[in-house]
Amino acid sequence: FNFDPASLTAPGDSRPTNGNHFMDIAFAAARDALTHQEVPVGCVFVRSGRLLATGRNTVNETKNATRHAELNCADLVYARCEEAGLSPDPLWAQIDVFVTVEPCVMCAAALIELGVRSVTYGAANQRFGGCGSVVNVPQMMPSSVTFVQDSGRVDEAVGLLKEFYKGENPNAPRPQG
């Protein structure tokens, strides 16, 4: 599950990556969120078939309600490019995103702002979903980003969310995909 530095430098692949393996990693990140009392959503950014960044929700840890898995991945791309002395700008359009839950309205817009190539998500997000469940952000912000639901991973994602809310304490955050 480690960052592969070649993901920054290898030539971009022409087609989106087959996601099962990377979705597995996103789910591992979501489970890690659960053990840290964060909303269990995990995300992976992939480039050239290699893992570029992994993230999960850190809302409680950062006391910032916007620190969703997708934004944490984006920050990692910036940090790793800076370490490598590279500009991230040419990379975005070659990045495929795998996230366990439908990106929220904010994150859907953020992924379009970044200009990633594709976004594959598991469960729909009935509270905040930005890919059609509550608001259809891709429709409002025309872009070349493709959003796809991976219907094979819905139950797994829902199961994690249920586990989180089962043990919810009254002050825990509401779900924030």
Binding site: A29, T62, N64, A65, T66, R67, M106, A110, E113, M140
Partner: protein
Amino acid sequence: MPAESKSAPEVHSVTVADDMPFHLTPVLSDSVVRALPVQTALVAHVCDRRQTAALVARLAAELPVPALAHLKRVRTARLDGAPALLLLIDLLENVFPTVGAAPPACDGAPRPLGRPLSDLQAALAERGVTAPLTGLGPQLYCAAVAAGRPITRRQYDQAAALWPTVFHRDLRVEASLAPPAAGPGERRRLLRWMATAAAAAAGSAGPRVGCAVVDPATDRLVAVAGDARACHRLQHAVMRAVDAVAAAQGGGVWTRAAAAQERPETGSAPTESASPTPAAPSSGAQSQPPDPEAPPPERREGGSDGPSVQRPPAGALPYLCTGYDAFVTREPCIMCAMALLHSRIGRVFYAVPRAGGALGSACKLHVADGLNHRFQVFSGLGAELCAGHADGEATNGCATDDTAS
């Protein structure tokens, strides 16, 4: 190097000219702004007034019409110059789907339909209402009535001008319709915070946008940020200000409060959340730790003289903007508007609208159905201060931006 150690703008000394124009336009949901559409109702003349109560009771039981539930069943009006009592039967199209009557005049005056009462009895019989409606005159009429329940006083007035209407005042809606009461002091206060946001915008790396977050209970600046999207595509001014608010509470990712402790590394591989983030651009987002010497708040409610509570109780996270006001020089985009919603912002004031804006222009995220928090939005505040912000007038690129140090 924490950004906030650098030349912070003199946020408390920002002044605005006394003659600065003041605008504040509430950005309201379409449901309260719109004029209610009009529909055509079928109306009969009650010529035997002793039957009125019985007729109303029968219609309520045998012919309830959900589309007319906000209307009273009878009204008085003048028919052929004489006072008359009118009974609302149903939507015209429900009784005579093919009648194709010209739309009635929208002045509330009933117009003859040119069909006799017997046609109504026949149509109702098909729907199982066979007993004759006793006490009605021989001619039928149509009338324009409001479609939909009025939510605001204005909508009620429009509806009632057509036909007597039921109205339940919603004090929350009424309060949201009017801009907050703003005497000269309050106007200066609001303009001053927009000027603070505009001052932060001047240091942007990218389009000129600024955002200030203020606690209105104490009139204290919680955080302020310029835009940095030239360095980081997601570091819009609002996103940075939200993070700076978190920093003021000991959290934050892009911004570290002056007193912020190093957060422990989480270490586990898939998390990586505590990894270093890129150096903050010069227009460093700034968070203000609570200032013990802050002047007493001007508008404190209640009699408490103790220091205001700046931190939410532990465990109440992450709604760190609860009750706060955000001042943004231009209308936020979808991402930023949703960030404010996630943070449970109280009110948002923006100076200039823009295409694609999510708080009035492209959509109204703050009153969207299906989202779990709503907030008030006002546009136009300090528009003169922020001329040119709407079209994202570029300032510095990322490479040349680090001039503040």
